[in-house]
């Protein structure tokens, strides 16, 4: 409710804009929670999809030649499709056959993918912009009709997307596929021996998750105006895990809380505690994780003894 009321009670456009960014973080966090919190697939490389979404939009809208550049909304659709395709290719590689990976092995592969993606982005020359990345030229909105690039418009766009993602995932998790996915998280062998096709369940979820992260990332980096190699790397991939852990893995509201709270805390403290803010944020993070292992939302909704 407070988030819905924010644009009404505050006329601080910078703050409203900032919350719009957090909403895209929240979608990214939900995409990770879907595969990790609900599917038990721990990933160290999901920024490949988030940052990758930004790169695809950047390349398709700023580069020339052949059919390029393309209009922003077309590039956005291509970014989502590319993220989904990358997720599909990766999931075929890691989840299929007798050598299907799970647990730490899967996490290590995703880590390697993130490292490779960052190196490729760095070495991509004029295609990826190398170390400098790509300066975006597109703006969110429909030129001459409506601008959704900053302020209230951006807040409304990202807020609506977050709400749609939240309810979409809530619906998905209540379907048969959602129940089977939670079954995979709890006991993959049992699911397999009941006759379900575990690789298919994982692939579908991974593709959905990759597409969601790609969508959020594409919008985020267009809004930011730049996408650079660090956005597809291990650092960005680890940060989203912190949001999910902080808020509560395996819940839908938890990752949203984490993805708003931690970046907001970081942004607020870095403005006031110039030298020590990183230490303070680290201490708070460790304290929360130690005191509430199930995350903030997981703690608030834990089953209580009668």
């Amino acid at each position: 409710m407070a988030l819905v009321a924010l644009p009404i009670i505050s006329d601080d456009r910078f703050l409203i804009d900032r919350f719009g960014r957090y909403f895209l973080f929240a979608i990214f966090a939900l995409s990770v929670d879907l595969i990790w919190g609900y599917g038990g697939m721990f990933t160290f490389g999901h920024a490949v999809f988030f940052g990758g979404g930004g790169y695809i939009v950047g390349m398709l809208t700023t580069r020339g030649g052949w059919f390029l550049p393309v209009p922003f909304w077309l590039a956005l659709a291509a970014a989502v499709a590319a993220a989904a395709l990358l997720a599909l290719a990766l999931s075929y590689f890691v989840f299929s056959g007798k050598g299907a990976l799970r647990g730490v092995e899967f996490a290590v592969v995703t880590l390697a993918v993130a490292v490779i993606a960052e190196r490729l982005a760095n070495a991509g020359g004029s295609i990826s912009g190398g170390q400098n990345g790509i300066l975006m030229q597109s703006r969110l909105g429909v030129p001459g009709v409506i601008s959704l690039h900053r302020g209230y418009g951006f807040y409304a766009l990202t807020g609506l997307l977050l709400v749609a993602t939240y309810f979409g995932l809530k619906w998905f998790l209540r379907t048969r596929s959602g129940l089977v996915l939670r079954g995979v998280r709890e006991n993959e062998d049992r699911i397999d021996l009941l006759g379900y096709e575990v690789p298919l369940v994982k692939r579908r979820t991974f593709v959905l998750s990759g597409a969601l992260a790609g969508l959020a990332g594409a919008l985020f980096y267009v809004h930011e105006g730049i996408v650079s190699p660090g956005t597809v790397g291990v650092g960005a991939s680890t940060l989203v895990l912190l949001w999910v852990v902080l808020g509560g893995r395996g819940t839908l509201l938890g990752p949203i809380i984490g993805a708003i709270l931690l970046p907001h805390l970081t942004a607020s403290l870095s403005g006031t505690l110039l030298d020590t803010w990183l230490v303070v944020v680290g201490v708070i993070l460790v304290a929360v994780i130690v005191l509430f292992p199930a995350g903030i939302f997981g703690f608030l909704t834990r089953p209580r003894k009668a």
Binding site: R182, E186, N187, D189, L193, G195, E197
Partner: protein, 242 residues
């Protein structure tokens, strides 16, 4: 008619033959006990039957089809249901959700409705009506084992395989499990049942026929009394049967 026909099954691990030229036939309506000392090869045989392991030689025909090279999930889809020795339920799902996972169609695009009445019937059969909304992790070991049997039953297996189902159970729970298996056999809930067990008293309660394994081979086959009278069985591990 035979539900399962195993012919010349052999499995070797780095020079050690865990299952050595085993042939076995399980008929419709049968509840077969599979016994043997530790390392006799009975668990390996079970793994070969449901597909966790692939045999080096020999064939497994299930429901008149050669399933020797099928992966485990496809054997399950054809009607093999396994209950693990260590309970294997979905801890953080409710009892009802656990059972639903047994009842849901397993083929990717199958949109068949879930038989809710059957779920209710099994919930009642395994005596878990009172805890249907509790997480599986909150149940006792014995009740978790019954829940697992319920999950597997809802997948409508033709052949139910149980790996030491009474392991870790109290005497009362073991007795109730024996009653449950006899009930399943009498009601023809599955076409055949194989129980791998150490607990000879349990086997005596449930099995029509017993197969004894020793050093990877079938040592004897018959009723529990016939098996106990067998000299080879007596020589190998008679003490364990009393």
């Amino acid at each position: 008619m035979s539900v399962l026909v195993i012919d010349g099954l052999t499995k070797t691990f780095r020079g050690f033959t865990a299952v050595d030229d085993v042939s076995l036939r399980i008929d419709q309506g049968e509840l077969r006990g599979l016994i043997g000392s530790n390392g006799a090869g009975k668990s390996t045989l079970l793994h070969l039957i449901y597909g966790k392991l692939e045999a080096d030689q020999g064939t497994i025909r299930f429901d008149e089809t050669d399933v020797s090279r099928l992966p485990a999930h496809l054997r399950a889809r054809r009607g093999m249901g396994l209950v693990f020795q260590l309970t294997s339920v979905f801890d953080e799902l409710t009892v009802e959700e656990n059972l639903l996972l047994g009842a849901l169609p397993k083929k990717p695009r199958a949109r068949l409705p879930v038989d809710r009445e059957e779920v209710e019937r099994i919930l009642h059969l395994v005596e878990l009506d009172d805890v249907r909304h509790r997480h599986a992790s909150q149940l006792s070991h014995g009740r978790q084992q019954w829940l697992e049997i319920g999950i597997v039953l809802l997948a409508k297996p033709k052949l139910l395989l149980l790996d030491e189902p009474t392991s870790g159970m109290t005497r009362a729970e073991s007795r109730r499990t024996a009653e449950l298996l006899k009930q399943l056999q009498a009601s023809r809930a599955t076409e055949a049942i194989i129980v791998v067990e150490h607990n000879i008293e349990f086997i005596r309660l449930v099995s029509d026929r017993v197969t004894v394994m020793h050093r990877g081979q079938v040592l004897a086959d018959g009723t529990i009394d016939e098996v106990q009278a067998n000299h080879e069985v007596q020589a190998s591990f008679l003490g364990r049967l009393h």
